[in-house]
Amino acid sequence: MIDWLLLFSNAAQEIISPTTAAYALAALGLAVHFGFTGLLNFGQAGFMALGAYGYAIATLTFGWPVWGAVLFGIVASIVFALILGVPTLRLRADYLAIVTIAAAEILRLLFTTNTFEPVTGSANGLQGYKGGFEDLNPIPAGTYGFGPWVYNEYDWWVRIFGWGLVALAALITWRLMKSPWGRVIKGIREDEDAVRALGKNVYFYKMQSLIIGGVFGSLAGMIFILPRAVVPSNYQTSLTFFIYAILLLGGAATVLGPILGSVVFWVLLSFFSGFVARAVEAGWLPFMSSVQAGQLRFILVGVAIMLIVIYRPQGILGNKKELAFVK
């Protein structure tokens, strides 16, 4: 029989999992790019990879402390944003889309190739970079928590750190978007020539936005690798599209939307994967192998997202009024 309690409890764990936090932060970066500025960045996976590899390589190869490694990942993503932005941000919006999707793939292949094996670990990736972060943990050893959320000191530290970063990024985004700077940014999304005609350096603002969202993506990449290893195959284009799905689910031009979107996405994914696996075990789906069942969860999540998008096209937290005017 299916243990429903276990299913729900596993799903509930996703609410505060570091992976959820990482996706939320990456989606928040995309909200800055796409939702607020109208920049079509299809390379968020690349920014995340830079954060992950930047942190791991700085720790393992250079032997840098945690803060230095974090800074290295941030600087890497800023450089990446500049490389992407300088040639494309003066052009029409679609150029950025093409360049970002290609650049993110190039990055992933560079991390995968054997040529840089000693530094990147090629297809096997990197591990053993968590020591410095563990040493910073102020929580005494032991297990804490209640209900489904019982973890040891490291797992709590990862969650607190990850969600702390998400909260900080959300606060910064919220402040920025309520400021005159945010007004210019939203104006650019609506019509950049009109903003130019009012004397604003549109190119410069778009670059700032690309960098901010990219740094969020890079930090998300760092959170993402704290509970696991760095593996290049995690940073495929599909990662970017999952993050877009999360963004649209929550509401593209909102601050809390991407965060809520990530929670909903991961809770649904966990619930459906648990459900399908148990259902196969219990013989409810005799026509299916367990490998096929593993794929079914994505179909179910896809259907759930489609339903939300059909019945709430502005996203969970989006403004219904805006939708009446979408061109």
Binding site: R175, P180, R183, K186, A197, L198, A253, F325
Partner: protein
């Protein structure tokens, strides 16, 4: 034909703007824009080919001409939204050839667009506030700390509401600009341009789609701008309006300036009617511009009648 003040509330016209005989490229006493040898080609088509043009300061200048004459293209070139194949031009004595659009706007030369660009998903008030120049809160570093810009923001808001009231849009200030009607968007775009306190406003068909009841108040706004010391350059197809408010008229056809002069002289100039009728002069093809030609002829006749009395 000098300044025709008051009798029926007609606006005061500025005169004595030019030096010598009014002809294409005539020198102005105090030009704000001086353009030389501007040429813009799209493939084989020469959209703009202006040898010399001066726009008088402190006056209202109308730029007229049939569809496709190159008026909007000239606007785009002068404001840095497009680059010419050749040519130089100055604004306020400074060369601004090749200067990017946003810098041109910062220098005080602000334009509106023929196809209105209201920022749909910003409120009307935010549209207005965006127009204000040199806001410290628009820098990323200060944006995070509201105490740097809160006071400035309040001043800008007060100015915005004041302008919105003048344009009868104050009741709409919290609505999305996307919810405005076409004419209201024209008004908003003009008001937004004024938020930057420009020295030269360039309006591309400000009256297109604005209902006649509102036209009068828009005309009054434009006349007010002149009173406040601004220079206005506008493109318009409505000849009655051109004659009513313009101090000076520049006529373009097929990319060239074919006539210049005060409205009355220009309307009486056969070159202008030629420009509108183009090569179809003798053929009765139901030319789309015959309405304009009729208006020009009527207005020229009016003048003739007036001078008899």
């Amino acid at each position: 034909m000098s300044s025709s003040a008051g009798a029926n509330g007609a606006p005061v016209k500025s005169t004595g703007l030019h030096v010598g005989e009014p002809a294409p490229g005539v020198k102005k006493v105090d030009p704000i824009i001086v353009a030389d040898g501007i040429k813009r080609q799209f493939g084989g088509l020469t959209a703009v080919d202006v040898e010399h043009l001066e726009i008088p300061r402190g006056a209202i200048t109308a730029l007229i001409g049939p569809n496709g004459a190159g008026k909007t293209t000239l606007f785009n070139l002068l404001t840095g939204f497009d680059k010419p194949n050749e040519g130089t031009w100055t604004f306020d004595g400074q060369s601004i050839s090749g200067v990017p659009a946003f810098r041109v706007a910062r220098k005080g030369q602000v334009r509106t667009f023929q196809l209105t660009k209201a920022l749909g998903l910003l409120t009307v008030l935010d549209n207005m506030k965006l127009g204000a120049k040199g806001q410290s809160g628009e820098s990323l570093a200060r944006a995070l700390f509201p105490w740097f810009w809160r006071k400035e923001e309040q001043e800008i808001e007060a100015r915005a509401i004041d302008l919105l009231t003048r344009f009868k849009l104050d009741a709409k200030k919290d609505d999305y600009a996307a919810s405005l009607s076409g004419g209201q968007r024209k008004l908003l775009e003009m008001a937004r341009a004024l938020m930057s306190q420009p020295t030269l406003v360039m309006l591309d068909e400000p009256m297109a789609g604005v209902n006649p009841a509102l036209t009068q108040s828009l005309l009054d706004h434009i006349l007010d701008l002149k009173k406040e010391g601004m220079t206005v350059l506008f493109v318009e197809h409505d000849m009655h309006m051109v004659r009513h408010i313009a101090d000076w008229v520049v006529v373009m056809a097929e990319g060239r300036v074919v006539a210049e002069g005060d409205p009355h002289e220009v309307m009486a100039n056969p070159a202008v009617i030629d420009a509108y009728l183009g090569s179809h002069h003798d053929q009765d093809l139901g030319d789309p511009d015959t309405g304009v030609v009729t208006a020009i002829k009527e207005l020229a006749d009016d003048d003739a009648d007036e001078s008899k009395h």
